[in-house]
Structures are given as structure tokens and as C-alpha cells.
Symmetry: C2
Subunit: 149 residues, 2 copies
């Protein structure tokens, strides 16, 4: 397995172990991880710290050229907010663990010229399946939906 996707999955697991939505992400620049993060809705009461956003935040302030040479790894297909952040910073490449649980704004990313590699990773899927079975209301809140009900 790609070590960067493995690192994103480790972040997702950390999130799960802390009671949070198990989505993790790492930002990679020239073969090195420069930011890691995971969804912080539950842990920090955050409406904006999705896994990808947390990784971007933890990478800190960066000049434009760094983002433009970076690859973002995420365990789940990026939602419209995270896709927008990728577009804002001109990150040219995104590697996605799975898009079965949730399909984000892949159409927007492709339209804006972002290269997507989509895996069908069983670890990513089973972490999400487990969490959604346990805490469906948190998951639906995280994607701005009211859930089945």
C-alpha cells in the first residue's frame, strides 16, 4: 500500500479511536508529508475541520507554489468544501481512498483540472461503515444532511 494513503488511514483511525468521524488526510510535497489531519467535528466541535481541512490547517501557511506541487491524500471522496479548498490553492492531484460511502464533488475537481486517483480501499470503507452504524447522526451532520429519520 502507498505509504501516504497508509498515513491518511492512520489519521482516520486516530479519529475513530477518539470517537470522531474516521476520515484522515495528508498533504504531500515532493515526497514528504507536510500536513496531517483528521475530521474534528466530534472532538473539537468543529463545523469546518473535515479531514482534508485539518491537514491543510496543520500544514500551516504556505506559499502558492508549494500547493501547486502538492498531492492531497484523503481516505474519503472530498465534499464540496474540501474540493473548494483544493481548487482555491490549486492542488493539482488528489488520491482518494474510497468513494463508495460518499461521493464528493469529484465532478468539480475534474472540471477544474485536478487529477484524481480513486482507490476502493477496504480499510477506509470499513472504518466508515462502523462509524455510520454507531453514530449515524454525526455522519449526516458532517455532510449537511438530516439523515434517514
Amino acid at each position: 500500500m502507498d505509504p501516504f494513503m497508509q498515513a491518511a488511514i492512520e489519521e482516520a483511525r486516530k479519529g475513530y479511536e477518539a470517537g470522531g468521524v474516521p476520515i484522515g488526510s495528508v498533504l504531500v510535497h515532493r515526497g514528504e508529508i507536510i500536513g496531517r489531519g483528521h475530521n474534528q467535528r466530534q472532538q473539537r466541535g468543529s463545523a469546518i475541520l473535515h479531514g482534508e481541512m485539518d491537514a491543510l490547517e496543520n500544514a500551516g501557511r504556505l506559499p502558492a507554489h508549494v500547493y501547486r506541487e502538492a498531492v492531497l491524500y484523503t481516505t474519503l471522496s472530498p465534499c464540496p468544501m474540501c474540493s473548494g479548498a483544493i481548487v482555491l490553492y490549486g492542488i493539482p492531484e488528489v488520491v482518494i481512498g474510497e468513494n463508495t460511502t460518499f461521493k464528493g464533488d469529484e465532478a468539480l475537481l475534474r472540471e477544474r483540472g485536478v487529477t484524481l486517483t480513486i482507490h476502493d480501499d477496504s480499510q477506509c470503507k470499513s472504518l466508515m461503515a462502523q462509524f455510520i452504524a454507531e453514530r449515524p447522526e454525526v455522519w449526516y451532520e458532517d455532510i449537511g444532511e438530516s439523515g434517514a429519520s
Copy 2:
């Protein structure tokens, strides 16, 4: 002047007075401000806390139906990241102070059914003009660009 846009401008001013990018935002639900914020790049070293994101974060975790009845006020046209957050949460209406200094992803917002009201507010524009004259490199970093040079 609309009191909600006035509140967003007050946030932008607070940002400017603290040395930050002067963009402010408020989230309004049923005629009440439920979240306020301003760009925190400079003050908190944040890559993701644009004014709109800070207002959404300060509003805290909310159920889907609240966002769907909300109006987001922002002093400057929302960038792709903030536009994506608006789309994620299904916020149906955005009021923009000005879009001369920077035109965000208004096309995406319209395409996704968001109603936009765009003012041409001189206070919003002059705060930005002043900041960009003083700290152009911070502004360009904030929008993922390398600037003139």
C-alpha cells in the same frame, strides 16, 4: 445599511485592526446572527479561516435544517473554498459586500442554486484596498496566488 452587512463590516474592521486580512462575515438564521467571524490568516496562522469559514466555525455544530434557512453575509465575494462550504451545507442565500477586489466562485454558487445579492460597498472596498497596498504578499497568499512580482 443592512444591519447584517454592517456587522460583517465590523468583523472586517476588527480583522484589519489586528493586522489581518479585512474580510468579515456573519451567519444569520431567522433574523438573528448565529455566527460571526473574520479572516484569521495573519492572526492565527490559519490557511483555512477565511472570514466565512471563521463565521461558520464560530456558529458551532448545527443541524442541516438550520443552514438551509440561513443567510451568509460576507464583505467580499466568496473564494472557491468558502463557496464549497456554502454548497456543502446548503445555505440558500449569500449577501456579498463587493466583488471588485476579488471575484470568487459566484458561477458555482449560482449553478448550485444559491441566491446571490451583490453590493458595491465602498467601506468593504476601501478596507481591502488599504490592506492590499500595505501587505500584498499576505493577500496573495490568502487566495493561493504568488502575486505580481
